[in-house]
Structure formats: C-alpha cells, structure tokens
C-alpha cells in the first residue's frame, strides 16, 4: 500500500490530462490510493462490487435506513469514499422507456437483477416527441416506471401531468451529482428529474474534402454552403438549426424577437436549406458509410464516429471534431418517473443505483456522455483509466461556460414552422 502519485498519473488517460484538475490529483494523492485498491477498481469491469474490500470501506452510506452499503470497490482512501453509495433493494419488474442504446446492457441485464433484485424491461423511443405522444395517449396507463426526457421538455410534461414527483428519501445518491447539473431551469428543485447525462453540440468534418479549419459556427456555415454543399447533415431538431444561425451571428438561441426569427428564417430557408443532405441526429454510422463530409453532431455520437470510420476501413485521422464555438448547446437527459408508474419503488431504486459512481462511470464508458458526477476526472482516473477520446466527453470549464440550455419559449411554434419550411426546401 505504498501510495505514490506516479502510478496514478500514468494511469490517467492521455487525452484526459488537460482536464484533470490539480485538485483531483491532490485528492487522489491525499487519499493515498493503494495500488492494489486501484487495480481492483480497474479490474472490476464485469462486476462492480466484489465485496472483498467492503470491510475496510466502512459505511459510506449517508442516509436511508433501508440501505445496504455496496462497499464494493469503495476501498479505504479511494476517491469513492467521497460519494454516497446507497443501494436500495427492490423487487418486481421495472419497465424503462429510454433512448436506443443508452445504457450498458450488462447494467440493465444481470447487474440490475443481482444487485437490486429487479427484472428490467426496456423499450425504446426515438425522440422526445415520441415519448410525449406515447405517454399522453396512454393517459397514465403506459406501464412505464422510468423515462428519460431531455430537459426542456420536462415543463410541458409536468404541465400535462405526465410525471410524478420523486420521493427524495429514496434518492440518497443525488448528492453525488455535481452542482452545476442540479437545479436546472426546467426543474429548479429536482423534484421530478435528475441528470442522467449531458452533452453538447459541435461538428465533424472530412479534412481531405474540406480544406482549412472549421473553428466556429460561422466557419461551419461557410463550409456547409461552400465546399461541403450537398454533403452536409444537420441534427434533426428545430432548435439546433436555429442555434447554428444564432451562434454564428452572436444572437441568443432562445430569442423570441420576431425580427431576429424572420431573419433566421430568411437565411435558413433561402440560403442554407438547399445545401443540406440529411437531417440526421446520429450521423456517426453514415459518416463511416461516407454519406457526409460535414456533420453537425452531438459529442457522444461524434466520438463513436471515429471508431466506426476505422471499422469501415477508413482513416479516422481524416476526420476532425470541434465543439461549437463561440457558443453552443448544453442538453441534458434526465431520469423521471411517469405518472401512474406501476412500480415506483423499483424506479427510485434504479435511479438511485445509477447515481452511484461505479455504475455511473460504467454506464458512461458505454454511451460516452458525461453523467455529471462530482469530481469526474478523479473518478475516471480511478474507475476507467483506459477511456479513449476523453476530451470529447469532458469539457474545460471555459467550454462549459459557453454552453447554453434550450428554453421552451413562446417562439416554439414559430421555430417549428421555420423548420418545416427548411425541410420542405431541402427536399425540393
């Protein structure tokens, strides 16, 4: 147990070094991470709680009388000691309605069975609107226990009575979520929702087809209407298209100003639409197929694109990713419990479990979006040292400052209308 900082530093992923804050390193050092504990944590890939070190872990549970501490890899002195790791057992079936490919299959499968005592049934939707349509038409009778809407959609879901309030006594691990990701505009007190993960928007381009750097939304538009014209994909959401225009022109993307919106419509419909090849929210696969040369993309999907390009026999180095600049989006998907959920107890247990650092990071490695845990760099260094392309998951404070969440405003119908016109124009 001779703790040294050296091995820790080596184990931290290369791409991650910039982001690793000094504080995190100090913490790891101060905590005197045992090398064995570290290795145990690294090796605990298939099963997060080995229980072997549970004795030294002590009780890290902060609350909840029914809780049983997992202990597990929360070894003494490990960074995990700083987290709440309450796991509430539950029973029965838990039906989750979520985005495709959004959880590590082993977490949803055997692990949930073994650690929580619940059997998962997972169904998938393809857009927030699908989810809302489904829940509204089912009128509280959909049979789902957990849903994962994106932040801005939550107020209307609350207004329609589609969600129920959390029983916070069952969500002890909510303290693990870093404060910037709590209390968002759409749910200031986290009564209905808690962050699953969040991401941002940027673009990818083929450097063999497009010369020059694309550093800002302005550059993006220039390239899209120029060299990449006809081979551009944009995210299949109305706001992201508007966002592109607004950020390129220094406007607020939540603008309600009708003159600004008119100008946006004029530009998007008359000048931009004809260059669009597809409205595609997950372009990674098609990038690898060679369908686009420039794609607006969410960071997690863009990150996957690199491995797909390699898969398809292409050269990933031909492609570059950039985060939207000077401003860009911050979206956040949230765990919620729909009204009329048949097994809310299991739902709470599940959400709480996903907020334990071990499970959260395990899931993160699968989907590639930041799950918003406190002190993420240290957590990754300890639990997932071989994570690649970390700079596409985690952003510097400066970058995070440039990100803005979407607000549902009175301009919503107007934006949808613009988007319809863009789509029609792009198709014509």
């Amino acid at each position: 147990m001779s703790a040294k900082q050296e091995p820790v530093r080596i184990l931290a992923p290369h791409s991650f070094r910039d982001v690793l804050s000094r504080r995190a390193l100090l913490q790891i050092g101060a905590g005197s991470v045992g090398l064995t504990a570290l290795l145990a944590a690294c090796g605990s890939d298939s099963k997060s709680s080995s229980g072997s070190t549970a004795e030294t872990a002590g009780s890290t549970a902060t609350s909840g009388s029914t809780a049983s501490s997992t202990g597990g890899s929360a070894a003494a002195g490990s960074i995990l000691g700083d987290y709440s790791t309450v796991v509430n057992k539950s029973s029965g079936t838990l039906a989750m309605y979520t985005w495709g490919d959004y959880n590590d299959p082993s977490i949803v499968g055997d692990l949930a069975d073994n650690e929580l005592g619940i059997t998962m049934k997972v169904d998938y939707y393809a857009s927030n609107e699908d989810l809302i349509t489904k829940l509204s038409t089912a009128n509280g009778n959909s049979g789902f226990d957990v849903v994962v809407p994106t932040g801005p959609y939550i107020p209307q879901m609350i207004a329609k009575g589609l969600l129920q309030k959390f029983d916070k006594s069952k969500l002890a691990n909510i303290v693990n979520v870093d404060t910037p990701y709590l209390g968002q505009d759409w749910d200031p007190t986290n009564e209905y929702s808690v962050c699953k993960d969040w991401g941002s928007t940027g673009w990818m381009w083929d450097t063999t087809k497009i010369k020059g750097d694309i550093a800002s939304w302005k550059d993006f538009i220039t390239a899209a209407t120029g060299e990449a014209s006809g081979n551009v994909s944009v995210l299949d959401t109305a706001v992201n298209l508007l966002g592109m225009y607004c950020w390129a022109n220094g406007l607020d993307w939540n603008t309600e100003d009708s003159a600004e919106l008119d100008a946006a419509e004029k530009f998007l419909v008359d000048e931009f639409a004809a260059n669009i090849k597809a409205f595609d929210s997950y372009p990674s696969t098609k990038i690898a197929e060679g369908a686009y040369t420039l794609s607006m993309a969410w960071n997690g999907d863009a990150r996957q694109a690199f491995s797909r390009i390699a898969d398809a026999g292409g050269n990933p180095d031909d492609w570059k990713w950039a985060l939207g600049s000077p401003d860009t989006e911050l979206w956040m998907d949230n765990y919620c419990i729909p009204a009329g959920a048949p097994n809310p107890d299991a739902a709470h247990a599940w959400i709480n479990w996903l907020l334990t650092p071990q499970i959260s990071v395990k899931d993160l490695q699968y989907h590639g979006y930041n799950s918003g845990m406190k002190n993420m760099p240290a957590l990754i260094a300890e639990l997932a040292p071989d994570l690649t392309l970390g700079d596409m998951i985690f952003f510097s404070d400066e970058q995070v400052k440039s990100m803005h969440t979407q607000k549902i405003t009175s301009a919503q119908d107007r934006i949808a209308d613009i988007y319809n016109k863009v789509k029609a124009k792009a198709g014509g």
């Binding site: 998938y124 857009s127 038409t137 009128n139 049979g143 929210s281 197929e289 996957q304 797909r308």
Partner: protein
C-alpha cells in the same frame, strides 16, 4: 373460373404439352423463354440481395450493422444468444425429429411393410413432439436470449403477429363471406369502410387507437390477459386492422367466383345454416383463409407505427425496437435477430406447407388465392 381457380396449375401442363408437341411451331429454341428465364433469375437476385447482406452482416465483427469491418465473427450471435441454453434445446429438437423420421424406416425394415400414412406424418409429428418436449423440459424460451430487450421484442413480435393474424382471419373471413353472400343495403358502405381501412395512413390509426384504448370501456384491452403481457390485446386489435381488410378482400374475391347455389342446395336438403357453413362454405374459402393468413402474418410482423403507439411497457415488438435503434446505431446482432426471425417464420411456414401438402392441398393453389385475384 371455378375449375381454373381450384386447380390452376394443372391446366397449364397439358397446354404446354400440346404447345411443344406442335412440330411446325417449335423448331428453334424458345428465345423468349430464355430471355424471360434470365430476367426472372435477375429479379430473384434482386430480391435476395438484401437478405444475403443481412445474413452476411450479422457476422460482422465491427460494431455497426451497416458497416462491414472486413472480418467475420460470430460474436454478435454470442451476444444475442445464450449458447448454454440454445445448443441443448436445438440438439434435443433435432434429435427427436430425426428419431421420428427413422420410425417408419424401422417399421419397414422390421415388418417389411411400408406404411404410407406413417411415413408421411412421422417427420412433422416428431417435430411437433420435439417442440413440446423441449418446451416442457427447459424454459429455453425464457433464457435463450442474452440480450433481454431484443429477446422480449422478438417474442412479443411473434405473439402479437400470431394473435393479430388469428383475429384478422376470423374477422376478415366472416366479413368476406358476408360481403360475398348478402346483398343488403349495408354491403356498399361496408365495402367502403374496408377500402378506407386500406388507404388510411398507419400513423392515423395509431394515434386514434392509442387514445381510444384509454377510454374507460376499452381499458381492459390494455390490461394483462391470460398471462399475455399488458398491451398485447390492444396490439392484436391494432395490427389486425389492416390485415383483416386484406383478408376480407381475398375471401370475398374467392367466393365471388362461386355462386351460392351450393349452400342453397345444402339448405334445401335440410342442413341448418351452421352446418352448411361448416361443410360447404368453410372448405371453399379455406385456401383463401390460409393465403390471407400468410399475408396477414407478414403484415402484422412488420407493423411498426401502430405497434409503437399501441403497445404497452414490455409488449413492444421487434420493428419498434429496430426503429428506435435506427436513430442511433444498429448493432449487428439486430441482423442476427432478423435472421432468426426469418428462419423461424420460414420454418414454421414450411412446416405448415408440408402439413398442407400431405393433407392434399397444392402449393400453387395457395399462391393463387394469396393474390386474391
């Protein structure tokens, strides 16, 4: 039409024979025939390209269905299936079937007598027994899939499609008979309704029904029923809608060619309506029902949009699963799952075809009614 419809295939053979027999007309090889054969072959290739690709790509080693990594691997099949469960179940099934096929041979060897009925039915019966035995001895259908979500989805797809097909065949069959035999005032409106069902976009049915099932009197359709997952009942209703219209048309077309005198004769001879229906009408439309059933089954199995909105938690089907994956990345095991679905469907149909053939139905008759002409 009656004669031609019942044995459409047999009329051709003699015609073709006389055709080729004409000495003055067929000196050189039939160029048209060769051209057509080539064309037909090309169309077949066209039809099977995607299927071959689906099978190939289910062995893709890369992480995405549509991108070929250049290497084959069975890892995605391993992801999909739990080999500890699949292998014994398959082996048992094959074993029992083979044994059953050997029985007639054994009988023949030992007694020296070839039992015709036995040799015909041993195979299918053995297969059935095998399915039952495997099903009883292990709960393989619960454990066969390692990937829970897609396993449930595939199972749901089958249950939903079979149920919906039954509903469609019963309803469509009755409606078809009624339309062909009665000429009341409601005949035309009914026909218009059937036609409207055919042309209404699915999303409209979907939205309408999804809301409809939440109204109090219909709530029970979304509840659990006889051990089927909640929502399965409403899936049956929803998916069978379009299919039943198709069955109606096919049955109606089948009966339109045969006048009602047969049933009337039965009635005159003192048969009660129920018996006349059972003994005269049902045999007449049976091939139409089989054909309609086949068509319904494929339609129901592919139903995406209605299934998406009408299904409940835990009753969503394979296409619903697939379409949600489309928005992100389709993994190669989805291809594997599709291949399995395909194999099971074709296997089941081949089984039905064998049974039908052994009981004296001709396959081209099935095809004939399939199209409803």
């Amino acid at each position: 039409m009656t004669a031609a419809a019942i044995t459409p295939g047999s009329t051709m053979a003699p015609a073709e024979a006389t055709h080729t027999a004409g000495p003055n007309r067929r000196k050189k090889p039939d160029v048209l025939r060769i051209v057509l054969a080539v064309w037909c072959g090309l169309v077949m290739v066209f039809l099977f390209i995607p299927i071959g690709l689906v099978i190939l790509h289910s062995f893709n080693r890369g992480g995405s269905f549509s991108i070929w990594s250049g290497h084959t691997s069975t890892k995605w099949w391993g992801t999909l299936f739990d080999s500890d469960t699949v292998l014994p179940a398959l082996l048992t099934l094959v074993g029992i079937t083979v044994v059953a096929c050997l029985v007639p041979l054994l009988v023949r060897v030992t007694t020296g007598f070839r039992h015709k009925v036995l040799s015909q039915w041993a195979g299918p019966l053995g297969f059935l027994v095998g399915v039952i035995v495997v099903g009883m001895t292990s709960d393989w259908f619960r454990n066969v899939f390692r990937e829970k979500g897609i396993g449930d989805a595939m199972r749901n797809s089958f249950i939903a499609a079979i149920g919906a097909t039954l509903v469609a065949v019963v309803l469509g069959g009755l409606a078809g008979v009624a339309l062909a035999r009665n000429t009341g005032w409601w005949n035309k409106p009914f026909m218009i309704v059937v036609f409207l069902i055919l042309v209404t976009p699915e999303i409209m049915d979907a939205i309408a029904l999804a809301g409809w099932f939440q109204r109090v009197p219909f709530r029970l359709f979304t509840k659990e029923f006889l051990g089927f997952a909640p929502g399965m009942l409403s899936l049956w209703v929803g998916e069978s809608l379009y299919a039943s219209a198709v069955v109606t048309l096919i049955v109606r077309a089948r009966l339109a060619g045969i006048d009602a005198s047969l049933e009337e004769a039965a009635g005159d001879l003192g048969a009660p309506p129920g018996r006349a229906f059972r003994q005269i009408t049902l045999p007449l439309i049976s091939s139409a029902l089989v054909a309609g059933g086949l068509l319904s089954f494929t339609i129901c199995l592919d139903n995406t949009i209605i299934a998406q909105l009408v299904s409940n938690a835990g009753s969503s089907t394979f296409p619903v699963f697939l379409i949600s994956q489309l928005r992100s990345t389709v993994k190669p095991f989805v291809g594997a799952a599709a291949v399995v679905l395909f194999a099971v469907t074709v296997g089941a149909l081949a089984f039905v075809a064998v049974v039908l053939k052994r009981s004296g139905d001709s396959s081209s008759q099935i095809a004939a009614t399939l199209a409803g002409g």
